[in-house]
Symmetry: C2
Subunit: 427 residues, 2 copies
């Protein structure tokens, strides 16, 4: 019986040597228990997520994709500086790999004790996560289209290694994208059960990139809006509805192979076992929504608000009956409802793995909430997202949302101990 990680680790102020070894033990046990089935996402501690849960960084696939969704997100998009060379980038990816392996075990970024650095140097680690534990941290890296194209792709000598489908997304109806919220050469997704642990990870990885890459935009999120395990209750978005009921679950191995992980035969060999990450910053006009009738809200979504059951009847996980009609002959699940348009049944069966988060950024000068959904989806081809998004063109929900940010990244496969993230790209 492996050590089962406990839920609370904050009572201990520092990280004792004994505590640290205990965590490593738990992480290794969890990794062993997970097996090779569908990669690192499953190789996690079986206990409920909490301060001491470890998701090992090393594995077949990167963590943070099928991993049981955590409560907090810090996502950073970075651009390389004009002088960064191929060797600089490789050095950065090696440093990020080493640091990520440590951070996901609740250690500091430094290999030395405490915060490192010594009195006459800046600390190696910024210190604000000391004592907070691993907190189920996952760190997921991706490469944007701009890394491979133009002058940068030439400078890095990787122009011919670009994953085939990696390209900026087309413009969709209702897009009002802002350049400073879109794109990026690299991305880091940090998810954790403690927001300070996620922020600490991005802050320290960014420090390691000093002079080589800098943040282009970043996004804080809290409150998952999709579940990847039916052990997790389906969360609600800021419209108050359950979201992601039809998501791909971490234990649906065949669907993950079919829809999420890239194959060796359809992509450059280095990218096999990777996936494409699509992010969309979607503002919600909360106050307008809050003044819509409950019945109208439910017609727009296609589900009842309280239970999340499809309007064709049943309970939350009852399959929607898109043919069902009311006494007046109208569809029970309206033709322009979000559930109907987004459902695989109405999209040629296309599925994506959603892993988004709510965000709230205060209020504008009219007192209105600046808030919405930071949509994150993983798929083996961005075309899957494009197909789903295009099908939403007539979605009644469009009246209440605005897409303001967009990016796509190639997420390389996981890395084994001794290697570094994205290594195949440079071999």
């Amino acid at each position: 019986m492996p050590n089962e990680p406990e839920r609370t680790g904050k009572e201990t102020g520092g990280v004792s040597r004994r505590g640290f070894l205990g965590l490593v033990g738990a992480g290794a046990a969890a990794a062993a228990a997970g097996g090779a089935g569908y990669g690192i996402g499953a190789a996690r501690a079986q206990a409920a997520s909490g301060a001491k849960t470890v998701h090992p960084f090393y594995g077949t696939h990167q963590a943070g994709i099928t991993t049981e969704v955590q409560q907090h997100l810090y996502f950073a998009s970075l651009d390389l500086t004009d002088s960064t060379t191929r060797d600089d980038l490789i050095e950065l990816l090696k440093a990020w790999t080493d640091a990520s392996a440590r951070l996901t075990h609740g250690q500091q970024v430094t290999a030395e004790g405490a915060v490192g650095g010594g009195p006459l140097k800046p600390p190696d680690d910024t210190g604000e996560a000391l004592g907070l534990g691993p907190a189920a941290l996952t760190i997921t890296f991706g490469f944007g289209p701009s890394l491979f194209t133009g002058e940068l792709g030439k400078r890095l000598s990787i122009a011919d290694r670009k994953p085939d489908a990696l390209a900026d997304l087309p413009l969709f109806a209702f897009d009002i994208l802002e350049d400073e919220l879109s794109g990026g050469d690299l991305c880091i997704q940090a998810c954790a059960e403690d927001p300070q642990v996620a922020v600490h990870a991005i802050r320290n990885l960014t420090r390691l990139a000093f002079g080589k890459a800098m943040i282009r935009w970043a996004q804080l999120g809290y409150g998952k809006t999709s579940a990847t395990s039916k052990k997790q209750a389906t969360p609600r978005n800021l419209f108050g509805f359950k979201d992601g009921t039809a998501n791909i679950m971490a234990n649906e191995t065949a669907d993950l192979e079919a829809w999420v992980w890239t194959d060796a035969d359809s992509q450059p060999a280095w990218f096999a076992g990777g996936t494409y990450l699509v992010v969309r910053k979607i503002l919600m006009t909360i106050e307008s929504w809050d003044r819509a009738q409950l019945g109208e809200q439910e017609q727009i979504i296609g589900r009842d608000k309280f239970e999340g059951a499809p309007l064709s009847g049943g309970e939350e996980f009852t399959d929607p009956d898109f043919g069902a009609v009311e006494a007046d002959g109208a569809f029970a699940i309206p033709a322009d409802s979000h559930v109907r348009l987004a459902h695989p049944d109405n999209n040629g069966g296309v599925r994506i793995l959603r892993r988004g988060f709510n965000f709230v950024e205060g209020n504008n000068n009219l007192g209105q909430l600046t808030a919405g959904l930071f949509f994150i989806a993983f798929q083996k081809d961005p075309q899957q997202f494009i197909d789903v998004q295009r099908s939403l063109k007539s979605d009644a929900l469009n009246e209440y949302i605005r897409h303001v940010g967009s990016a796509v990244f190639a997420v390389p496969p996981g890395v084994r101990e001794g290697g570094y993230i994205g290594q195949g790209l440079f071999e």
Copy 2:
């Protein structure tokens, strides 16, 4: 033996009738166990904070002051609209009281089941906290100086009821305050273990204020920066140092009476048992700090970074020895260190109850973190804060921080069931 609230309540999707009654039972038991000692802050469930922890809204003092500090904050400052009358404000305070009592028990804002409202009306409750449980939510209300003064004070007929010491804070050295981040007629502080629960509370209380008051500014915070109980490990701020080691703790009854709760003899009678709330939005220049030497950081704070021990020696809770000198004759805890200047020993013994939170709001267009400390302090007289803040004029830390927002509010005493918050002001 009262029902001990469990830590996790998210596995249940909806709120069953049975679950709801169970929570009320737990809350009542916790209230009964707390006794009258030092008010509602102590009248809490004894279990670790979590989804099912209830802090009852009703009590001698308002909750959210001595209450064991939660992990998440949503703070809103509101201004009354130009047409709001005395009766409107009383009606609003009654509606807020009723809603707060329900929300802190994990119920929806409506008195009906589910989200309320019915199909042809907007839902009474916006719904996004359904199933999330009470999550240790506290809701704390305050009245700003502008409520009592000028035309508004006359319109509300409360100009002569102003607490004596309620006035905008003086300008301090290094203040670069922004008007849109400062002041306000009313405030609501929502703290919870789940950010969505805190946001839901402010969102729904704001809806109840529609036409009467609107948000002037708001602040999201995460990660407490002070503890009010030694059962809580001293948290760290974004400089990576433990903060609030010398804070007033919830069980220090004599200090709470001496420094936090207002007396009947020094204030209008309606304000006895209240307190003054000072908030300061403090930006930190994170990147500059991160490049300072570890030794310099420790000299600036006056504590070691890893343990939080004073530089005069010992452990975290060892009293600093401000007279201790090094071999070279210099103070072990430098004369311009934050710990020395902020310590009660060097401020005529003045103490305040700190309850601040970290905030991170993404990155500016130089890639730098927009982040810092949302400082919150409670004291029986704002002069306590003023004295402490003035003593920090020569604080070496000032090089790395900027105060950009400031407000002060009179926090009325708690309310008993059947009354409404601030009722004494209108009697």
